[in-house]
C-alpha cells in the first residue's frame, strides 16, 4: 500500500522541481494524446515548443511571445499577491476589460487632438478602471463579508456587457460604416501603444510587466507589506497577532491586482488589439490564474510561466494550422500543464511511503 506522509518541512528542492516535472509530464502525456489522434507525437511537441523560438519563422513568432506574455505576467503578478494572502480575485478578466474601456475611452475623448500627455492619461485611466472594478468585491467583502470569489467572477460578465454596450454605442467609431467597435487607436498617434523597437514586439505593456515583476519581488522579499501578505496566507491568526490589519490587506491586494489587470487591458487595447470590440477579451484574465500558480506565486516564476504559457499558445496555433491538430486538443494540453503542476505540488509538502497502512 502507498500512503502520503506530511514532511516536517516543505521540500525546497521539490518546490523548484515541480514546474519542470509538470512540463515533462505534460509533454509525455500530451504526446500520447497527439499520437492517439494520429499525429506524430515528437513532431507535435517540437512544433509547440521549438517552432516559435527557433523555427524558420521565429522572427515573426518571437515578438508574439512578448505580446502574448506581457498581459499574462502583468495580471498574474497582481493576482499572486492576493493568492499568497488567501484573497481570491478570480475576476481579473473583468478588471482587464474595464481597464481597456477606461483607457481607450480617455484616449478617444481627446480625439483628434495630439499631445504627449494623452498616453499617460490613458495609462492612469486604465489603472483606475481596473482598480475600481476590483474594489467592488473588496469593499463588499470587508463591509459585508461577501465571498470575493463569486462577486469578482460575476463582475466579469457585467464587464462584458459594458464592453458590448460601449462597442455598439458610446465608443462606436462614427466613421466605422455602422460596424461595431471603436476607432482604431493604432491610427491615433498620441494614443498608440506602439512597438518601442521595430519588430521586437516590445511595447509599454512589456516594460510595465517587467517593472511589476521587480516591484513584486522586492515587496515580497524585503517589505513589511509583502511579509504581511505571506504571513496572512500561512497563518491568518498569527498575522493578526503580529499587527496585520486584515481589512487593509484585502483592499490592497484586490486593488493592486485590479490595477495591474486594468493596465494590461489598457496596453492591449492601445497596442496589439487597437480597438474596443465586442470580442476584445480573449481570456488573459483567466489564463493568468494558471500562470500565477504555474509560477508558484513567485514573481520570477510567474515571468517564466508567462513565457511558457505564451509559447504553448503560439505553438498551439502553429500546430493547429500546420499539423491540423484540433483546438480542443491544444486546450487539453494546456489543462494538463496545470493538472500536473498541482499533482506534483503535493510532493512539496508530502512524501510517498510504501508500506502497511495503520488503522489508528
Amino acid at each position: 500500500m502507498m500512503r502520503l506522509e506530511k514532511r516536517p518541512q516543505a521540500s525546497r528542492a521539490f518546490s523548484y522541481a515541480t514546474p519542470v516535472l509538470a512540463v515533462i509530464a505534460t509533454m509525455v502525456f500530451g504526446g500520447a494524446l497527439f499520437a492517439v489522434l494520429g499525429k506524430d507525437p515528437l513532431a507535435s511537441i517540437m512544433t509547440i515548443f521549438w517552432e516559435p523560438l527557433f523555427g524558420d519563422f521565429a522572427f515573426y513568432y518571437r515578438p508574439q511571445l512578448l505580446v502574448k506574455g506581457a498581459p499574462l505576467v502583468l495580471i498574474a503578478i497582481g493576482l499572486s499577491l492576493g493568492f499568497k494572502a488567501g484573497i481570491w480575485n478570480i475576476g481579473a478578466e473583468g478588471q482587464y476589460i474595464m481597464g481597456a474601456l477606461c483607457g481607450a475611452g480617455a484616449g478617444l475623448a481627446f480625439y483628434p487632438a495630439e499631445s504627449v500627455f494623452i498616453f499617460p492619461i490613458m495609462v492612469l485611466a486604465g489603472a483606475l478602471g481596473g482598480w475600481v472594478w476590483a474594489m467592488i468585491p473588496a469593499v463588499l467583502k470587508v463591509k459585508f463579508g461577501t465571498n470575493e470569489i463569486l462577486v469578482s467572477l460575476m463582475l466579469v460578465y457585467v464587464a462584458e456587457q459594458f464592453l458590448a454596450s460601449a462597442s455598439l454605442g458610446l465608443l462606436k467609431n462614427p466613421e466605422g460604416f455602422g460596424f461595431p467597435g471603436s476607432r482604431n487607436l493604432q491610427q491615433y498617434a498620441s494614443a498608440h501603444n506602439g512597438e518601442l523597437f521595430a519588430g521586437s514586439g516590445m511595447h509599454w505593456g512589456v516594460v510595465a510587466a517587467l517593472i511589476a515583476v521587480i516591484f513584486a519581488y522586492v515587496l515580497l522579499a524585503r517589505h513589511r507589506l509583502g511579509f504581511a501578505i505571506r504571513v496572512t496566507g500561512e497563518a491568518p491568526r498569527a498575522a493578526r497577532f503580529s499587527g496585520v490589519n486584515p481589512t487593509r490587506l484585502v483592499l490592497f491586494c484586490m486593488g493592486m491586482s485590479g490595477l495591474l489587470a486594468g493596465l494590461a487591458g489598457m496596453f492591449e487595447v492601445a497596442g496589439p488589439a487597437g480597438q474596443i470590440t465586442i470580442d476584445f477579451n480573449v481570456g488573459y484574465g483567466f489564463t493568468a490564474i494558471i500562470v500565477a500558480f504555474l509560477g508558484r506565486l513567485h514573481p520570477v516564476g510567474i515571468l517564466l510561466a508567462g513565457g511558457l504559457m505564451a509559447l504553448t499558445y503560439i505553438g498551439g496555433d502553429i500546430a493547429q494550422s500546420q499539423l491540423g491538430l484540433p483546438a480542443a486538443a491544444i486546450q487539453v494540453f494546456q489543462g494538463m500543464l496545470l493538472f500536473f503542476l498541482l499533482a506534483f505540488d503535493l510532493f512539496t509538502h508530502y512524501r510517498l511511503r510504501l508500506g502497511r497502512t495503520e488503522v489508528a
Binding site: H223, V231, A235, A238, A239, R240, F241, A360
Partner: protein, 506 residues
C-alpha cells in the same frame, strides 16, 4: 491484591515513522488497583492506552486479561472485555440531553426512560450528581466529564482508563472525582490514571509506572515517593526549582477598568467588567477552567481585540484603541497559548517568526523595509539564550517540538525588554526542565521591573511564581488576592464563581 493480575502487558512495542512510541513496555494492574501512568508529553502514555483500548495495534508484545490473551481489534472489542476509557477531550453532542448522548454510545441502548433511571442510579451510587434530562450544552466541563464517566460505568467496566481527567476541573470537582474513583476501586474496578499532576497522583494512586521516551524507566509507590523524585524520574535529570528574591512592586503599569468586550469568536466567552491593576515587578497569576475568557483577555491586551475608551490603561495612557504594533511600541508584549498558528506561523522559518513580533522593538524594520540579517541574529539570540533545540534559525516553526517552540515564543518576547508581558499557558505541554527554565525567565523579568500577567491552568505553577492570584470565571475576574496564605479551598471557590459571596466586589 490477587496473584492473577487483571491486565498484564508484556514487551509491547509500537513504532511510528521516525519515532518508537513504546519500546518493550510491560505493566501489571491488579483488580481494584489505581495505577498511575506518568511521563512527559511524548513519553508514550497515549499510545500505550490506545493499544489497550483497541485504537492502535502493537507491533509486537502481548496483552493478557484475567490470564487469557487479549488483543482488541477495535474499541468495541475492548469495551466488551470490560475496558472503559474517558478521554481528555469529550465527544458529546451539545444539543442533546445527557441520556440521549449516553444512548448514542451504547450497543443496545434501552428505552430512554429505563436508561434515565439507570443513569440516576449510577450517579447516586457513585456520588456524581447528574440529571439525565439536562441538555449537554448547558453543562460545565466537570459535569460533561461526569457524563463520560457514567457512560463508561453503565458498561460495568473492570478497568477504567482516565486520560488527564483533572485538567478541566476546579479543585472541588477534583475532590468529587477522586471520591468516585476510590469507591470504584474499593469495589474492584482497576483504574489506569494518566496525569502529570504529581500531587494528585500521590493522593490517589496505589502504584505508578513511569515512562520516558517510550520505555519504562521505573515503578514507585506514589504515597511514599516525593513529587520531586517522581518528576526527576520522568525527566531523567535533576530539576532546578525557580528562585525568586524578595521585591517591592513599583508603580502601576497596567490598569484595567471595567474591561468588557464581546468575544470575536462565536463560541467564545465575553469579558465582563474586569478591573485590576498590575504594578512594575509584580506577577499577577490568573487561573480558571479553560474557556472562561482566557483567550479573549489576552486578545484585549495584545491589541487583537480593541476595546472601548478608558478600559485598558498603560502608564496612565489609554491604549484600548491601539493595535498590536502600537502596543509593542509602548512595550506591551504578549505570548498567546496556541503556539502554532497564533504565536508562530507554522511553515515559516524561525527567522521569519522572530520578525513576526520583533520588528518594532528590535528595530528590524526601517521605513517599511525589513532587515533580514538582523532578524536572523535576533532569532539566533533567542535560540542561544533560551536553549531552543533546533539545527538553526532557517528551520520551520512546525519542525520544532512543542516545548522548544514554546521556549522560542516566550524567549522572543522576554528578550524584547517588555514593560508589560502577558503570557497564556507559558508551560503547557512543555517538559518539566524546560518549564522550570521558562518560569525562571519570567521571574527574572519581573525582577527587572516588568509588570506581568501569567494566565495558566496549572495552579501549582501560578502558586510558584505569582505574587497575587485571581481567577477567571465566565469572563469575570475575581478580586486578586496575595498568593501567600491562599488555600486550595479558597482558590477553588474563586474558580467556581462562588467568590462573589465570600469576597465583596469593588
Amino acid at each position: 491484591m490477587t496473584d492473577t493480575p487483571l491486565l498484564a502487558l508484556s514487551g509491547l512495542t509500537k513504532a511510528y515513522p521516525g519515532v518508537v512510541a513504546n519500546d518493550d513496555v510491560s505493566l501489571r494492574i491488579a483488580p481494584g488497583e489505581v495505577h498511575a501512568l506518568l511521563g512527559e508529553n511524548g513519553a508514550g502514555k497515549s499510545t500505550l492506552v490506545k493499544m489497550i483500548y483497541g485504537l492502535v495495534k502493537p507491533d509486537s508484545g502481548t496483552m493478557q486479561m484475567h490470564g487469557t490473551s487479549f488483543a482488541p481489534q477495535e474499541p468495541r472489542a475492548a469495551r466488551a472485555a470490560g475496558v472503559g476509557m474517558v478521554f481528555q477531550h469529550f465527544s458529546l453532542f451539545d444539543a442533546l440531553s445527557v441520556a440521549e448522548n449516553i444512548a448514542l454510545g451504547m450497543e443496545n441502548a434501552p428505552r430512554l426512560r429505563a436508561l434515565s433511571k439507570q443513569i440516576r442510579d449510577v450517579s447516586e451510587a457513585y456520588g456524581l450528581p447528574l440529571a439525565p434530562d439536562r441538555i449537554v450544552g448547558d453543562l460545565s466541563a466537570g459535569e460533561r466529564q461526569r457524563v463520560e464517566i457514567i457512560r463508561c460505568l453503565l458498561q460495568d467496566p473492570k478497568l477504567l482508563i482516565m486520560d488527564e481527567p483533572t485538567s478541566v476541573l476546579t479543585p472541588q470537582e477534583v475532590e468529587i472525582l477522586f471520591k468516585t474513583l476510590r469507591k470504584l476501586s474499593a469495589e474492584g474496578t482497576a483504574i489506569l490514571y494518566i496525569s502529570h499532576k504529581l500531587e494528585e497522583i500521590r493522593s490517589l494512586c496505589d502504584s505508578a509506572t513511569i515512562l520516558r521516551l517510550g520505555k519504562v524507566v521505573g515503578h514507585c509507590t506514589p504515597s511514599e515517593t516525593t513529587a520531586r523524585d517522581m518528576a526527576e524520574m520522568m525527566v531523567g535529570s535533576t530539576l532546578k526549582t525557580p528562585t525568586r528574591a524578595g521585591k517591592t512592586p513599583g508603580a502601576v503599569k497596567l490598569d484595567l477598568r471595567g474591561l468588557s468586550a464581546a468575544s470575536p469568536s462565536s463560541f467564545g466567552m465575553p469579558l465582563r467588567d474586569i478591573t485590576v491593576q498590575v504594578r512594575a515587578g509584580e506577577i499577577l497569576g490568573i487561573g480558571g477552567v479553560a474557556g472562561n475568557g482566557q483567550d479573549e483577555l489576552l486578545s484585549a491586551l495584545s491589541g487583537e481585540l480593541l476595546t472601548a475608551a478608558g478600559m485598558v490603561g498603560f502608564e496612565g495612557q489609554d491604549v484600548g484603541q491601539l493595535g498590536p504594533t502600537a502596543r509593542r511600541h509602548l512595550g506591551i508584549l504578549t505570548a498567546p497559548e496556541e503556539r502554532l498558528g497564533h504565536a508562530a506561523a507554522p511553515d515559516m522559518s524561525l527567522t521569519e517568526n522572530a520578525m513576526l513580533t520583533g520588528a518594532v522593538r528590535e528595530k528590524l524594520e526601517r521605513r517599511g523595509m525589513l532587515n533580514w540579517p538582523a532578524a536572523k541574529r535576533f532569532a539566533e539570540r533567542i535560540i542561544a539564550d533560551f536553549d531552543v533545540r533546533t539545527p538553526g534559525p532557517g528551520n520551520a516553526a512546525r519542525s520544532l517540538s512543542g516545548g522548544n517552540l514554546q521556549k522560542f515564543v516566550i524567549g522572543r518576547e522576554v528578550l524584547q525588554r517588555p514593560q508589560v508581558l502577558v503570557v497564556n499557558q507559558p508551560t503547557w505541554g512543555v517538559d518539566a526542565s524546560a518549564a522550570a527554565s521558562i518560569r525562571q525567565a519570567l521571574l527574572d523579568l519581573a525582577e527587572n521591573g516588568t509588570a506581568m500577567i501569567v494566565i495558566s491552568q496549572d495552579l501549582d505553577e501560578l502558586m510558584e511564581i505569582s505574587d497575587r492570584f485571581a481567577a477567571l470565571n465566565e469572563g469575570r475576574l475575581s478580586e486578586p488576592r496575595p498568593v501567600q496564605g491562599l488555600t486550595v479551598d479558597e482558590i477553588g471557590l474563586m474558580m467556581g464563581g462562588a467568590n462573589g459571596m465570600e469576597v465583596a466586589h469593588v
